[in-house]
């Protein structure tokens, strides 16, 4: 599988997990990000993810490669959803296989943290009261206006 990919359709962690199998692996760690029904005090009803895929794919691949090098794991991959998601849907999956568990956990954590901060993916939340907003973009748009 590709080290980093987007999917328009629901994620299938079992198939990804099988791809990380390696005879030298003593373990596998995964992280699944799920859509929750609340964020910062607002009741959330659904989400939309949008990505600048040409750059996001490159940056995502760089992150996975960094994790493999940095933590010495065997295989790693990340798949992220785009499109419309409901509560409980799987938004992102990260998997790592390695010889020992410590580096699998560490690499998994590194990948999800870096993906959140570096990859051009945006999340629009729709709220129970009918409002919607782009996460991290709405409040910073009014800096020190006079």
């Amino acid at each position: 599988m590709k080290a980093f990919a987007f999917s328009q359709v629901p994620l299938t962690p079992d198939t990804y997990r099988a791809e990380l199998a390696d005879p030298a692996a003593g373990g596998y760690a995964a992280f699944e990000g799920w859509v929750r029904n609340h964020n910062e005090g607002h009741a959330v009803t659904r989400l939309e993810y949008e990505a600048f895929e040409a750059l996001a794919n490159k940056e995502g691949e760089r992150i996975v490669a960094e994790a493999i090098t940095r933590f010495g794991v065997l295989r790693a991959a990340c798949v992220h959803r785009v499109g419309s998601l409901g509560i409980g849907d799987l938004a992102v999956w990260v998997g790592v296989s390695s010889r020992h568990r410590a580096e699998a956990f560490a690499a998994c954590r590194y990948i999800i943290d870096e993906v959140k901060h570096r990859v051009p993916i945006w999340k629009k939340e729709h709220y129970e009261n009918g409002d919607s907003g782009w996460v991290n973009c709405e409040r910073c748009a009014h800096p020190h206006e006079h």
Binding site: V92, W122, N136, C140
Partner: protein, 279 residues
């Protein structure tokens, strides 16, 4: 008798919005203070730079004849009142140093239409019709009323001129007094002033997320004279209701992270990246 005209370039501002000293910015291949000083020196008998006491020896200002604020902290009126006190028989052509579009022609027009019997001669702003105090001639007769105005705790030189006997002129070049206060305005101004920056190029801009919604489209192709992504974004903000400033964004050129100051090339694809939220 008409009072001799001295020049005063105001360079005592804090440049808060620019976050860098406006006197040192370069629009014309030299520090803006030098450019403004040279311009005013062409049309005045003697010229000075207005500084705060703590700026007397700074590198950008130390080499000019100076007039030091006597009541620092009250803005440009401190510089104007200090000049009127220092040379009470002179009239003062007062000039802000953040006017990169100013021309000698606009100054000559002001001088030619000066009314020495008024308190001041000023241009009407091209934007709101109110007097522009920082490209204006202040007569010796302004001294007492300015001192009284400052003594009463007021600081706004524009309001002073509004409430004084001021001769008002229309600008011969409407954009001549457009001032530059922010990094984005600086980008636009340098692009407009740079001969090679005027070269038009075609670039494609792709919009995502909040910018896509605010632009009302996911991409557009524009002919622009913007020299860098910073200048391009400033230009696009004039056309689209983008609320995010460049400080909030990253930029990508041809599907790779880029720099705001990278020269734009014909045919580039540019993406402005709002704060991300994956995961």
């Amino acid at each position: 008798m008409t009072a001799t005209l001295f020049g005063l370039v105001l360079a005592g501002g804090a440049s808060t919005r620019m976050r860098t000293d406006k006197a040192a910015l370069q629009y014309h291949g030299q520090p803006q203070l030098q450019w403004a000083f040279d311009l005013v020196s062409k049309v005045c008998a003697a010229s000075f730079v207005s500084v705060r006491p703590d700026q007397r020896d700074d590198a950008a200002r130390g080499s000019y004849p100076q007039i030091v604020d006597r009541q620092p902290g009250t803005g440009p009126i401190a510089g104007i009142s200090a000049a009127l006190l220092e040379h009470p028989k002179a009239a003062w052509l007062v000039l802000a140093c953040d006017l990169p579009f100013l021309t000698e022609r606009t100054l000559q027009h002001l001088i030619a239409h000066r009314d020495p019997h008024k308190i001041a001669t000023a241009y009407r702003s091209a934007h709101d019709g109110l007097p522009e105090p920082l490209c204006a001639i202040w007569e010796p007769a302004a001294r007492q009323p300015v001192l009284a105005y400052v003594a009463s705790g007021k600081q706004c030189p524009r309001k002073f001129l509004i409430n004084s006997d001021t001769a008002l002129l229309d600008l011969p070049e409407p954009q001549a007094l457009d001032n530059v206060n922010t990094v984005e305005e600086f980008g636009l101004a340098t692009a407009a002033l740079r001969p090679e920056g005027r070269t038009s190029k075609t670039v494609r801009i792709q919009y995502y997320a909040i910018l896509r919604e605010q632009a009302g489209r996911s991409e557009e192709t524009v002919d622009t004279s913007a020299g860098t992504p910073a200048e391009l974004y400033a230009e696009l903000r004039q056309r689209h209701p983008f609320q995010l400033t460049s400080a909030h964004l990253k930029v990508a050129l041809n599907s790779e992270f880029g720099d705001w100051q990278t020269p734009l090339k014909h045919g580039d694809t540019v993406v402005f990246i709002p704060p991300v939220a994956g995961g």
